[in-house]
Amino acid sequence: MDTIGYQGLIGVSLAMSLWLISAGLTIIFGVLGVINFAHGSLFMVGAYMAYTFYGLLGFPFGLSVLLSLAVAAVLGLIMERGFLRHLYHLDHAYQLLLTFGFVLVLDDAVKIIWGGVFKIPPIPRFLDGAWPVFGRPFPVYNTFLIAIGILVGIGLWALFEKTWWGRVVRATASDREMANAIGVNVPWVFSTVFVVGAMLAALGGALGTPIRVAAPGIGAAMIIQAFIITVIGGLGSLKGAFTGSLIVGILSAYGTLFFPIFELFFSFVIMTVVLLVRPQGLFAHVN
């Protein structure tokens, strides 16, 4: 019984970086109507940046994370302003293809800059160690991740519900033309939303690296998990992204424990079941 509880908690901590990446993906889709394939690559960039600033250059942990977010924000801004913006009038397929091109470029760029082997930055000293949970040592760092995930959730809720920016974004999401007509600068809203999404992905990457790894392939691995999560939870829904992340995170924790060979397979099975029973996802976002 203790094993079940303990592994469940590990799953929750795994779910948190999944939540950060899926939240960004789903927000961008909800407002811009675009699926960013390169969202996983932004996660990867966040991971490598945190590794570089913290693990290699020895910057303070908090500052390293902030710097990785800044890099991802700039990258996101370039993607949206420089490229994506010119394709909004076209079919969705071209936006997908463009971001697919970004994935190929960023994956290889990471290999060129940091080499093909994986990197693990050290866990910051003040978050190292473990405390007993269910009679076993549970890492402090995983506890920290769970806390961050919950804080980001609350923060996003407050951002969208309580601030002027949130109201403008929600207005744009529900009716782009009307928002434009009442004086909302829609292109500016798009850019800010894309940048916020990019920073969420990078935050997931930067904080996730000490327990996952920074490797060239993680971008693709993460985007596929994020897709599964958004299909389960419902595209465009933050509640769905949170629930989906918990389901996938906890399942993969149990999967690793009991069926190591078919760990990833579980998520696909759940996704298929959701598709058959509730094709719009658990928390469908109605436009």
């Binding site: 394709l87 076209l90 079919d91 071209y94 596929i224 897709f227 299909v231 990833l264 696909f268 058959l276």
Partner: protein, 330 residues
Amino acid sequence: MTYLRHAHIMSGPLTAALVAALIVLPLLAGNYLTYLTIQILILSLFALGFNLLFGYTGLLSFGQAGFYAVGAYICAKILLVQPSLLLGVLGGTVAAAVVAVLLGALSVRHTRIYFSMLTLAFGMMIYSVAWKWRDVTGGDDGLVGIPRAPLKILGIASISLSTIEHYYYFVLVVVLLGVFFMYRLVNSPFGLSLQAIRDGETRAPFVGMSVTTHRLLAFTIAGLYAGLAGALLPPLENTVTPVMAHWTTSADPILATLLGGIYVFSGPIVGGALFIIIKDLIVRVTVHWSIVLGTVVIILVMGFRGGVAGIVAGMVARPRAAPAPAVASK
């Protein structure tokens, strides 16, 4: 809404000349060039299936490598037990089509954006099976020692294909048949229905077309072509590895099609040839092929959405055939 008409750049005599050139090629070219041409033929077939889905039906799949790998693995498994080429290739193709029906049934009901995400996820599901199910697939080592089995025809004749020239002719015949059937298909009422659905998803049901059934059929045929292309590979390379199912392999037919042109029937074939030639030249210089690939995708999407064949079609366009448009239906 834009009405699209698929342009043609190949005339009858030009096609005949190309086929004649392909027939004499192994006699003039060396082994390496013959080998490269086989790769071009296989990729063309793969991309042609992909474009039935993308260019004609408007569905962008990122998981075609999954069916490609199913074709290759099943063909390899059959050849390791029963060295009969026809049996292996047929088995692989049928298996890929069956998997495509099942996954297609789950994917085609959804909006186009969901469809793209689902195909990527399902493709990677097949990859994870190939990677993890070591007892059957050989895991990351893949399957090795696959024979280039002789072509047995109903027990009457058995033709050895051990030399690369012989195998080339087998692939050539298969691919030409594949191109011919696809040409007939896209110009049939069924092919026109697909284009009608692509251009007017909400209108098509009003003239009595079932959008889901048409899409599922297109998805299955695309999966079948991917499987056939994949099944032609193990006898050539004597090995199959999980990379065949990886999403980066799905990028190959996508890029070939973009490069050649989406709205031209021969686009994927032109693009397949360009893709293999450019790749062959680049990998001599650098291992970082994918950064070049990505850059080309970005450039094509940003500025040259009609592809090479689209540009040619625009130049030779007669009044009847509209030049390949840059904008797809919204």
